[in-house]
C-alpha cells in the first residue's frame, strides 16, 4: 500500500492530520491498531473542547472527527506500526499485516496509561485493577474503590465513580492535587470522595480480586490499609513511540522531539499529539498539532514533486 501521507494513529491528532492532507488534495490514510478515537474516546465527559457548549462524551466527539475525516477521503487502515525506516524520498512503515509506503509520515500514535509498578498490580489487572473508569466502573456499583493520581484525569474520573460507588478514596502522592482548581473543589465537596493526600500505594492486595490497597504517608511514614474492591490508576502516560527507536529523536521519557512546525529529526517524518514532547496534552492541542503537521507534510510533498520535475 502506498499513500502520499501515512498518519500513524487515528486519535484526534491523527484524524485532524488526515483531514487536512486529504482536503488539500493528497491521498492520506491513518494506520490504527484498534479503532478511531484513541485515548480521547475513553474519556467519559469532555467539558473544555471549544464549540461544544454542552459536555460531550469522548466517544461521540471522536466518532464525529472520524466521520468528518472520512468525508474528505481519509482511509483508515487497521494495524499497529512495528517499525519505521526512512529511505531515499520515502518512508516505510511495517505492521504485522502489511508494509506501507508513503512520501511523508505523521506520527500520531499517542500515549497509554502508565502503570503504578507495585506488587499486585499485574496479577490483579482485570480483577479489580483498572485504567478506565468509564469501562469498568459499573462493576463496582455500591462498593468502595480507590483512584490513584492527582491530575485532571484522576479527579474527573473519581467524580464519575462517585456516582456509582459507595466510597471513592482519592490517593495522591503530593499534598495538593494538580488538577484544575474548580474541578478539585467540586470533587472535594463530594461527600463520597475521601482524599488521601501525601500517600503512595505500596501494594495492591487480594487473591481472586482486589481486597485492599496498602498506602504509606510520605511525610510521616505511617501505613494504612484501605479496604476496596477496585483500584483505578491515573498516574500519567507513556508515549507509544518504541517503534521509532533509532530512527527518530526522542527525549528521555520517549516523547518525540519536534520543532514548532512538527518536524522531527528524520526527513519526511512529522509528529503530532500526545506522542510529542510538549507541555499540555489535550484534545484541543492534539488537533492543533495535527493541522500543523499535515501542512508541513504537504510542503514536504510539494518539495519532493518540484525536485523530480
Amino acid at each position: 500500500m502506498r499513500f502520499d501521507v501515512l498518519v500513524i494513529g487515528a486519535g484526534p491528532a491523527g484524524l485532524t492530520a488526515g483531514l487536512y492532507v486529504s482536503r488539500a488534495g493528497w491521498r492520506a490514510a491513518c494506520l490504527e491498531r484498534l479503532a478511531p478515537g484513541g485515548q480521547a474516546a475513553l474519556t467519559s465527559r469532555v467539558d473544555n473542547y471549544p464549540g461544544f457548549d454542552e459536555p460531550v462524551s469522548g466517544f461521540e466527539l471522536c466518532r464525529r472527527m472520524e466521520a468528518q475525516a472520512k468525508r474528505f477521503g481519509v482511509e483508515v487502515v487497521q494495524g499497529e506500526a512495528q517499525g519505521l525506516a526512512v529511505a531515499a524520498g520515502s518512508v516505510v512503515v511495517r505492521s504485522a499485516e502489511a508494509t506501507l509506503r508513503a512520501d511523508a509520515v505523521v506520527v500520531a500514535s499517542g500515549a497509554r496509561p502508565r502503570e503504578l509498578g507495585v506488587p499486585g498490580e499485574t496479577e490483579l489487572r482485570g480483577k479489580g485493577v483498572s485504567y478506565c473508569a468509564t469501562c469498568d466502573g459499573p462493576f463496582f456499583r455500591n462498593q468502595a474503590v480507590a483512584v490513584v493520581g492527582g491530575g485532571d484525569s484522576a479527579v474527573e474520573e473519581a467524580m464519575f465513580l462517585a456516582r456509582l460507588c459507595s466510597r471513592v478514596y482519592l490517593v495522591h502522592r503530593r499534598d495538593e492535587f494538580r488538577a484544575v482548581k474548580t474541578v478539585v473543589e467540586r470533587a472535594l465537596n463530594d461527600t463520597k470522595i475521601v482524599p488521601v493526600q501525601s500517600a503512595v500505594v505500596t501494594r495492591i492486595a487480594g487473591t481472586d480480586g482486589v481486597e485492599a490497597v496498602e498506602v504509606r504517608n510520605v511525610s510521616t511514614g505511617a501505613t494504612d490499609r484501605l479496604e476496596v474492591a477496585g483500584v483505578f490508576v491515573y498516574v500519567g502516560l507513556l508515549p507509544n513511540s518504541e517503534f521509532l527507536a533509532g530512527q527518530v529523536a526522542r527525549d528521555g521519557a520517549g516523547y518525540v522531539i519536534t520543532d514548532e512546525d512538527m518536524l522531527t529529526s528524520a526527513p519526511g517524518v512529522f509528529a503530532a499529539g500526545d506522542v510529542r514532547k510538549k507541555s499540555l496534552r489535550q484534545i484541543s492541542t492534539a488537533v492543533g498539532d495535527g493541522a500543523i503537521a499535515a501542512m508541513s507534510a504537504v510542503r514536504h510533498l510539494q518539495g519532493l514533486r518540484a525536485q523530480s520535475r
Binding site: R33, L34, A35, G37, A41, L42, S57, G58, F59, Q78, G79, E80, A96, E97, R125, G126, K127, G128, S130, C132, T134, C135, D136, P138, F139, F140, D208, G209, G230
Partner: protein
C-alpha cells in the same frame, strides 16, 4: 443462507450459553461487552472480522454483561471488554481489554494448534 449468518458474531444469553458455548464442538471466542463500554465498541469491528476470517473453525459469540450478569460474575469479569476463548466447555485463553487484531489472531492460532 445459513453460511452467511454463521460468519457474524452470535449473541448469547444465560439461556443459550450452555448449548452454544460450553457444548460447542469447535473453539468459541466470547466477547463480554456492554453498550456503555467504549473500548468494547472499539474492539467490536475486530471481533466481527474474526468471525468472518475464522468461519467454521472458531465460533464467535457476544455476551452482554448487563443482560447476563450471573455469567459475567461466574467467569469473574470485572473489566470489559474481556475476550474468553472456550474449548471443550472450559476457558483456555483470555484477553482483558481492547487489543489489536493481530493479538487475538495469535491467541486463536495457539488454541487451534493444541
Amino acid at each position: 443462507m445459513e453460511e452467511i449468518q454463521a460468519t457474524k458474531p452470535l449473541h448469547v444469553t444465560s439461556a443459550t450459553f450452555d448449548s452454544e458455548v460450553l457444548k460447542s464442538t469447535i473453539p468459541v471466542l466470547v466477547d463480554f461487552w456492554a453498550e456503555w463500554c467504549m473500548p468494547c465498541l472499539m474492539v467490536a469491528p475486530i471481533v466481527e472480522d474474526i468471525a468472518q476470517d475464522y468461519a467454521g473453525r472458531v465460533k464467535v459469540c457476544k455476551l452482554n454483561v448487563d443482560d447476563s450478569q450471573s455469567l459475567a460474575s461466574r467467569y469473574g469479569i470485572r473489566s470489559i471488554p474481556s475476550l474468553l476463548i472456550f474449548k471443550g466447555g472450559s476457558v483456555v485463553n483470555q484477553v482483558i481489554g481492547a487489543v489489536p487484531k493481530s493479538e487475538l489472531v495469535k491467541r486463536l492460532e495457539q488454541v487451534l494448534r493444541t
